[in-house]
Amino acid sequence: MTVTVDPALLADARRERRFFLSLSLPALFIVGLAAILPILWIIRQSFLTTGGEYTVGNYTKVLSSGLTWSALVTTLELSLGTLAICIVLGIPLALALASARPRVANLLMAFVMLPLWTAILVRTYGWLVLLRRDGLINAALTGSGLTAEPLPLVYNFTGTLIGMVHYMLPLFLLPVYAAMRDIDPNLIRASASMGATLGQVIRTVIMPLSAGGIFSGSVIVLIYSIGFFITPAVLGGGKVNPLSTRIERALSTFQDWGSASVLGILLLVLMALIGVMLLAARRLLAQTTVAAAHA
């Protein structure tokens, strides 16, 4: 079957596309200026000595240091840990929000968004008040006799993870909630009417249809977490040192812009790798879902 389309209409559509493209030019220009140029500058800087001569010494120095690799491991542990907790906490929360009545959902959403409107430093120091040895949580725990000694909740990996999850959860929740809210309720009713249990509905209807949202949420969480600095610096007690703290050390203690730039590029490569891996995972997932549907 062939459909003939009026060429005038096609030309019209082309014109419209071009018009929309031209509207995005100012934004593209700003992105180019604010993102691409500094990155080029950092790449150039990574090949310069302090005196301004070309060298690959910064790379050999940074990549041969055990500190870089242990910082890389810490970065990955923090990011993946944050993502895992966000998934475990965020998906049920998004399900609850999407199935609640609109008024209740809006109210709950406001609570979820509240932390996003608070400055990160304020929030981080807020956690100190809650988590430290004589803080609210430990006072409640020891006061009620649940624990004999205050728990080490802050100035370590645990505290850092708590602070990061608190920051990232709303950002994870938003796309997941949006995807779940857009699922046609009739699909859920239909599957239920055909005898699907709640678990089956979630597994075979809701999850596949909100996979896009979960995917976007995960990308946001990972990309933000990889560069986190303030939370590990304040809540980590000097014991949690991801790549961002190595960059700070190179810049502020050693004034070694070359090494700091190499570390920055390492972060960039890490983000690109994670992006590629997630994209591949998503494509694979889509294929298997389609295959399963056709089977």
Binding site: T50, S65, G66, L67, S70, A71, R132, R133, D134, Y155, A233, V234, G237, G238, K239, N241, R249, L251, S252, T253, F254, Q255, D256, W257
Partner: protein
């Protein structure tokens, strides 16, 4: 023709203005310290010289200085740095040489002298403790700080090799005068790092800012805190259950420098000379417990007798302390920090 007269007058006024009101920018660390410097030092000095001085505040002066000088966009005429950072900045040619025709060269003791960054006040890295934990019998020396069996409790140290490796050697009985000689040997640095590693399990927090160390002491989050004397004194004065000792302190100095290519070089030198007059650096101790470097400031009762014991460089506090050696740190700082960071990552 009246418009011409008016514009000529305007021209004459604008040409004359810079002569009457020299504008300068000074960059300090801000906070209580920055305010103290403004009240006691550059505020009155600017008034005396008739300068219009603007203040910028930065917590990381050296990084900012490097950024400004390298990019050629120098936004400050005077910058406040720690002396090791000052020496580092000088080594990277980020500072103008000080003009000792304008600044009095005799105002600095020989050991602290610098050609690029003028040392004006001093502080001690001291041992402080929670008086609720230790009562009348606190640890008195760095050896006792390391003695976790006799003095159980949570320790807090700075997440930086600076001062920590000096303290580590003092705790093993190295004499204050020999600290840098020992550190200059590879085994010496290794020995200091091993000593820090030994206390690591008992270190609850490795702090990264002075304000943080004060908070740890005040909240009782740590029982024994290595901190700067000004911070410990503030906690004690505010009614915190804390005390400290100058025994075995590492004395550091802060300094004032002029960025390479600063717009108002000569006026900057004049302001440095005026703001560091003995009476003004003595006045600084009204606000914060950082003692003058210039010995003349301790003469003539400029500083009240009872305050002297709160100052690191006061004559009675000097004996057991080590003067932080900026030259050593410029030369060996990166290697020392590297070894320290590796110890932290183990």
């Amino acid at each position: 023709m009246s418009w011409l007269r008016i514009s000529l007058t305007a021209f004459a006024i604008s040409a004359a203005l810079p002569v009457h009101a020299q504008t300068l920018t000074i960059t300090t660390a801000g906070g209580d310290y920055g305010n103290a410097m403004k009240e006691a030092m550059w505020g009155p000095a600017a008034k005396e010289l008739g300068y219009d001085v603007r203040e910028e505040t930065l917590s990381d002066g050296l990084a900012a200085l490097k950024m400004q000088v390298t990019s050629g966009a120098i936004a400050t005429d005077i910058i406040h740095l720690g002396s090791p950072e000052g020496a580092q900045a000088a080594a990277q040619s980020l500072l103008e040489p000080l003009d000792y025709k304008i600044i009095d060269a005799k105002s600095v003791p020989e050991g602290a002298a610098s050609d690029y960054c003028y040392p004006f006040d001093s502080y001690g890295t001291v041992m402080s403790w929670n008086t609720k934990t230790y009562g009348e019998n606190p640890p008195k020396t760095w050896a006792e700080f390391w003695d976790v069996a006799k003095f159980p409790g949570r320790r807090a140290l700075r997440a930086n090799a600076q001062d920590s490796i000096e303290i580590a050697l003092l705790s093993e009985g190295v004499a204050p005068a020999d600290v840098y000689a020992v550190l200059s040997t590879p085994e010496g640095l290794e020995r200091a790092i091993m000593r820090l590693e030994a206390i690591k399990p008992d270190v609850a927090v490795w702090w990264t800012s002075g304000a943080q160390s004060a908070q740890l002491l005040k909240d009782g989050e740590a029982d024994l805190v290595v901190t700067w004397n000004g911070r410990a004194e503030t906690v004690r004065k505010d009614g915190g259950a804390a005390d400290y000792t100058f025994k075995g302190s590492v004395i550091g100095t802060d300094c004032l420098g002029v960025p390479k290519g600063a717009p108002n070089k000569e006026a900057a030198m004049k302001l440095i000379a005026a703001m560091t007059q003995p009476v003004r650096v003595a006045k600084l101790t009204d606000f914060i417990a950082y003692g003058p470097v210039n010995p003349a400031a301790y003469e003539g009762g400029l500083i009240p007798e009872d305050r002297l014991k709160t100052l690191a460089t006061a004559p009675e506090n000097a004996g057991t302390s080590v003067f932080s050696n900026s030259q050593w740190w410029v030369k060996n700082g990166e290697a020392a920090q590297q070894a320290f960071d590796e110890m932290m990552a183990r």
